[in-house]
Amino acid sequence: MADTVLSSVNLSYKYPQGAKLDFPDIHILKNQHSLLLGDSGKGKTTLLHLLSGLSKPTQGEVQLMGKNLYSLSGSSLDSYRAKNLGFIFQEAHLLKNLSVAENIKLAQSLAKVPVDEHAVMHMLSELQLADKANALPHQLSRGQKQRVAIARALINRPGLLLADEPTASLDDTNTALVLKLLFDTAEKHGATLLIATHDKRIKDKFVHAYQL
């Protein structure tokens, strides 16, 4: 289907320690922002890694933007992921030696997309970070870091934005702010959101949810 962003079938994963997890099939259409809900230890992060090709499942198949991820070889998979997927983690995890602008440009560079200074500054302006372009991560507040992480994830205009517990350690007000920012920015840049979380506060904000 042309509008399908992500789909997975019969995914299961066996950990090196021996435990095995079976995951529900997932089918996400364009702009169908979805939630992966589950308590800690249910395999939310593992499923995100399988869906993004960072880990390989014991069995099953994943289609991202119409392409079977596991049919791609190592470097092709890296390249495909860089162009079609954006990642946001619980912590911003910016590279501390690079400035805000450089952190974003790095995403372009790793995706082998020509570094577009204008696009970077435009993105930073949208996220009210234009004046922080040359700041180092340690000079930013937590919220600013999170916004830089979002900018970094979206700079290559990926079709899918995966977020792993983006609101886990935030209070209600900040949780609402981050969610709004994610929705607004993702929609503006044509990305579909898939958020893995155990945070039941955000369940009501989503129409589509997968329970682990």
Binding site: T45, T46, H49, S52, L54, S55, G74, S75, D78, S79, R81, A82, K83, F87, F89, Q90, E91, H93, L95, K96, N97, L98, E102, K105, L106, A107, S109, L110, A111, K112, V115, R152, D164
Partner: protein, 452 residues
């Protein structure tokens, strides 16, 4: 952002450990650079300075000292030999060319060599400007002497007694520059040449080619500032210190009981006519090699020293020191490699999440591997370049300290083989970075991200 930009950001953020690795590499490379260039320059000098000279004949003593004083001009002579004996030897059919030299004075550290025009033939020297000396107190100077002392044709200068620039100045006998030699890349570039008579005359020594007997008491009255040369003396350059030396005649008259002093006195008493310091010999045929040295050593009171043998001995003596320094340099280079390894290994622990994030953004395993490898390479490359700068500056300082006659190291001339030092440093850097790079290559994104 390319690899180099990323690497540069990394190494400038951990400036302490980077600086340590860079400096260790630099010291190792600098020492090897100094050893290589001085060793090479020394070897070239050995061969340039002994060119065409198969044998040096001089007064008995240390053969190495004879070679050092007569060919390299870095030591005192062993004594004098009779010119008549030297001439006799020169007439031997096994000898093609025999050139007497007489040492004794210097001009600001540049030794004055009394000799004959055949000296130029022996060293294949060419006069670039002017002409060869025609009479006493006309001098032909080496190219470095002209350059460093700003001397040109027609200039005059006064020599100082002995081999030290601080010796008594013979201001009553100025030398005139009549010729300047082309550069020969040998010790001659730092020498001043004149005829034998100039050296004798400047010291008031009676001379006459065919007259071994002459009256020293009446022939020369040569007054130095602090002593009277009314009685001629054997000009024994190697210990001739005008500032406080006692003359041989005085020594003899005081009947000293010291054996060394007595021997000098005996030499003087047994006057042998005109004297020179040494005779530089070129063989007529290779067969002479087995005959002439034995002839000299067994049947005359002179000694024959082979430049080839003594130079080899000298270089092997110096080689021990150079080898020890080289070992030290290798150890430092090894420690530099270790420092790079530890620095990168520890940095990886801190950077493992950065690497995982980069992988999640599309960096390939090879990209992470090359990043770490390039980091090791850049650190040791910078160290290597700084090391070469240190090395050349060290050579410059060594050159400044060296005496004028030993001034043969071109401190700022870059040798193409120095690239091998940089290459060696880079290889060490890459080897040191190999294990950390493999760890980076094997970064398990899922495990690291899951840990967080």
């Amino acid at each position: 952002m390319n690899n180099l930009q990323l690497v540069w950001k990394n190494i400038t953020q951990q400036i302490g450990s980077t600086l340590l690795s860079v400096l260790l590499t630099a010291f190792g490379v600098a020492i090897l650079c100094v050893i290589y260039i001085t060793g090479d320059a020394f070897e070239k000098q050995l061969s340039n300075n002994t060119k065409n000279i198969d044998l040096v004949v001089g007064a008995k003593g240390s053969p190495l000292q004879l070679i050092l004083s007569s060919l390299y001009h870095v030591d005192n002579p062993t004594g004098n030999i009779a010119l008549a004996d030297a001439r006799n030897l020169g007439n031997n059919p096994f000898i093609e060319l025999a050139v007497p030299i007489s040492l004794g004075d210097n001009f600001k550290g540049h030794r004055l060599i009394g000799t004959e025009p055949s000296y130029l033939e022996l060293y294949a020297l060419k006069i670039g400007e002017g002409k060869i000396w025609g009479k006493s107190f006309e001098a032909v100077i080496g190219s470095n002497v002209a350059r460093k002392r700003g001397l040109k044709i027609g200039d005059t200068f006064n020599t100082a007694h002995g081999l030290s620039a601080e010796g008594h100045v013979h201001d009553e006998h100025p030398f005139h520059v009549v010729g300047i030699l082309d550069r020969s890349n040998s010790v001659v570039d730092n020498l001043i040449l004149c005829n034998l008579e100039s050296v004798w005359d400047v010291h008031g020594i009676a001379h006459g080619e065919h007259n071994g007997e002459h009256d020293h008491a009446t022939e020369h009255e040569h007054n130095h500032d602090d002593h009277d040369h009314a009685t001629a003396h054997n000009h024994d350059e190697h210990d001739h210190d005008h500032a406080g030396h006692a003359h041989e005649d005085e020594i003899v008259s005081e009947k000293p009981n010291d054996v060394f002093v007595k021997s000098i006195g005996e030499d003087m008493l047994a006057h042998r006519g005109d004297e020179v310091t040494a005779l530089l010999v070129k063989y007529a045929s290779p067969a002479a090699m087995g005959i002439v040295p034995r002839l000299v050593n067994q049947s005359t009171d002179m000694q024959a020293a082979s430049p080839a043998i003594e130079s080899t001995r000298l270089f092997s003596l110096l080689g021990v020191g150079l080898d020890s320094l080289a070992i030290l340099a290798y150890v430092i280079m090894f420690i530099a490699g270790l420092s790079v390894f530890i620095s990168l290994y520890n940095a990886l622990k801190e950077r493992k999440y950065d690497l995982a994030i980069m992988r999640s953004m599309g960096a390939s395993q090879t990209k992470l591997f090359s990043l770490v490898l390039v980091e090791g390479l850049v650190i040791t490359f910078i160290g290597g370049i700084i090391g070469l700068l240190f090395g050349h500056f060290g050579l410059y300082l060594i050159n400044q300290q060296a005496s004028e006659s030993a001034d043969f190291i071109e401190a700022f001339r870059v040798n193409s083989q120095e690239l091998f030092l940089i290459l060696a440093a880079c290889i060490i850097g890459m080897l040191a970075a190999l294990i950390p790079a493999i760890r980076a290559y094997k970064t398990s994104i899922a495990t690291i991200l899951a840990d967080k």
